[in-house]
Symmetry: C2
Subunit: 435 residues, 2 copies
């Protein structure tokens, strides 16, 4: 059976196929991120791609599970899930496999996540997330470390225009606590706060006859957005001890971030309610100029590890690499500029030994080399074309029938040729091919 | 809901969770392999994790599909498969997305594959394969390139005792061609040849009254195993042109491998019938001393790309990284020896700015640093213990109340202490912490 183009699409929409340039860029980004994590004392772990649904669901909100890929495990009959998120896996690993290891644990990962999407939604079903988790410390320094790491990573991978929004779940939850007893109404309020819909929010607060003071507090959430001045505006808003503690914590975190000189990258947003049921303290999201969706985010989740049997305060974040690649493409779209190969070593069968040795020496010296036997002198135009199409920088040719076994170095684009004896070849090639 | 240990296992058996040391080792291996591929002119691509079953099945044997994970795609109702193999994906990519790109294509990948296994089989369900494919050339140099690359990779990742078995599908298929008309009998013969069961093979050949000459040829397959001398023994065996051509090809490949000086790593095995329906020419498998299963393998598969609409001669190979890690652990089990962090910078709140700056400088200089605020002088024993448990090499301490802001460098194991002024700190740390 052979594929016929007329019948069906070959590749599911929204799955991630990265070709050469995309993979090259992804590897560079991954290398920078993991090495930044490493320089901060984080070690990478590798979670499995699928888990038992009943275990995984302990650590993730229902929404995420709804769109997850599930299948029945043949061996046990239990339902498996392709991970829609990585943090619950790291939490499980920390609470079980690494339960006897000293805290703090500084762990990082690079892992694909999966979710069902309607075929024409234009959204990806397979996404790479790279992130880190700091398990053990509960202090402001730990919260700040996540944000500093994020900023240093974004700078190292070349993203210049970005903004981190800072929220505080204790504070926001404190303000919204009067509505705890009425889930439906609470959900409505949360929705309007999330969308920053002031008039709709006011309307529904009045409809339910919420007292003036509480109304003012809730409506204020929408305006507590901006620089350091937000702290002063938020200070007198509520006497709720949770609000006071949350605000103090965010001030402490902000003070540490100022030590790093990062205040200009920050935007305080006390109306941030993302992950309301999951996060417990300082939270943040990453935005880039001219890019609608967030590029990543994270925050404190002190209640998660308890679900796997070993409680610990924790904070962490993840970067959405597919979106970051898109954002970088907008900033510098010249990613096709690099070459793939340094030398195209052409020779005939009688010089194979010399060509093999030279190619090996060049590779050991860090060059990328393709060796090709069967060279014919009248086909040089064809080889130049091949070198150009394969993004090869230089052609090396063994001069045919030459008693001195000399080399020619040819530029595939211009055809320029230099001749050299075989002595000190490597040194000569280094000198003549500096890019 | 919280997990209770009594009820169920948390992690499916046979899924790949790698902790810190395992992931570190895997990354090192991956880096070496991909950089070797790169130095030979190969570029990495990233295939999707799942594909449509009907498309994927074009390129893979039924057996592999039987044990693959399958699920229904919500968006289209079509059946998806978690890839049980990567080569069919690369073939599809080469034949479709890269169909307009110049040949040869040199592509490589690092990708997990999946298969159902009985829960107690002790085999992995999620396995990392790293491999390469050379699409376009049909010559002996291309066949040899696969094997040379394999050997160079194995050497670079530190595997010393290994053996490559070389087979030739054209030759073997030629010898077995008299049985093409009788599938059941053919299968029986193939089975005995694969297992090198001489007496069972002879018995069934006699049972079916196979003529003496053919019997001798088939039985010979079991003995055509060894060094270069095998070629002489195989030469007169059959006048079948396919056998002659196959043998000549393997001789040519062997001659190229001798140019590299790799003949001692090779074992010719003309009775190799692995992947009989799939491979079309030179094939090989990798074995390590004291390790039962093959660590990888590959060969020529000239008929695969045609199934995706754009025929091309092709050869390739894959390395099974989980097995390679196990084999390496047997050779050098001291993988826990390395440290995780270079410096543990301890300070109090009043020196946070200096500590932040010093930590940043150290990280820029390539060191791994954990900074910790809130140091208390009477707790140094506790911090030393923390440093040891976190595999930290050195403690840096800001000397408390010191008017000169001096630093102490402390060895977590011995407690040895050196004191230094803040000038030229970085230079001094470099000199005093050479590992």
């Amino acid at each position: 059976m052979t594929f016929s183009k007329k019948t069906k699409t070959m590749i599911p929409k929204g799955v991630a196929t990265l070709l050469r340039e995309g993979t090259f860029q992804r590897r560079e980004i991954e290398k920078e991120i993991l090495s930044t994590f490493n320089s901060w004392g984080y070690q990478e772990v590798t979670p499995p791609l699928f888990e038992y649904l009943d275990i995984f669901s302990l650590g993730v909100e229902e929404e995420a599970l709804d769109s997850a890929y599930k299948f029945v495990d043949r061996a046990t009959g239990r339902i498996m899930v392709l991970r829609p998120d990585v943090t619950p896996q790291i939490a499980r690993i920390a609470a079980t496999l690494l339960s006897d290891q000293a805290r703090p644990l500084r762990l990082c990962y690079s892992a694909n996540v999966f979710r069902h999407e309607a075929e024409n939604a234009g959204r990806e079903r397979e996404l790479l997330q790279i992130g880190g988790e700091l398990i053990g410390p509960s202090d402001a320094e730990a919260d700040a470390e996540m944000i500093v790491l994020t900023i240093e990573i974004l700078r190292r991978i070349g993203l210049k225009s970005f903004r981190i929004t800072l929220g505080q779940m204790e504070f926001t939850r404190g303000i919204l606590s009067p509505f705890n007893t009425s889930p439906a109404f609470f959900k409505e309020i949360r929705h309007h706060v999330a969308k920053k819909e002031a008039s709709a929010l006011e309307k529904c607060l009045k409809r339910e006859a919420v007292d003036a003071k509480t109304r003012k507090q809730v409506l204020s959430l929408l305006d507590l957005l901006g620089g350091e001045a937000v702290f002063r505006r938020a200070e007198g808003l509520s006497e709720n001890p949770a609000c006071q503690a949350g605000l103090q914590r965010l001030k402490d975190v902000y003070a540490i971030l100022k030590t790093y000189g990062y205040q200009d990258d920050l935007l305080i947003d006390l109306g941030e309610v993302r992950g309301f049921d999951y996060y417990t303290g300082t939270i943040f999201e990453i935005f880039a100029e001219g890019f609608g969706s967030e590029l990543g985010g994270g925050g404190r989740y002190d209640r998660l590890l308890k679900k796997f049997g070993k409680p610990a305060p924790s904070t962490g974040f993840a970067l959405y690499i597919d979106r970051i690649q898109s954002a970088l493409d907008k900033v510098s779209p010249n990613k096709n500029a690099h070459t793939w190969v340094d030398f195209f070593v052409l020779h005939q069968s009688d010089t194979i030994q010399t060509a093999v040795t030279l190619s090996a020496e060049l590779r050991s010296a860090g060059f990328r080399v393709i060796r090709k036997n069967g060279f014919k002198n009248d086909k040089i135009a064809m080889y130049r074309e091949e070198a150009r199409s394969q993004k090869i920088k230089h052609i090396i040719l063994f001069v045919e029938g030459d008693p001195k076994n000399r080399l020619a170095l040819i530029d595939p684009v211009t055809g320029n040729k230099q001749i050299q004896n075989m002595e000190n070849t490597l040194e000569w090639l280094r000198l003549n091919t500096v890019s």
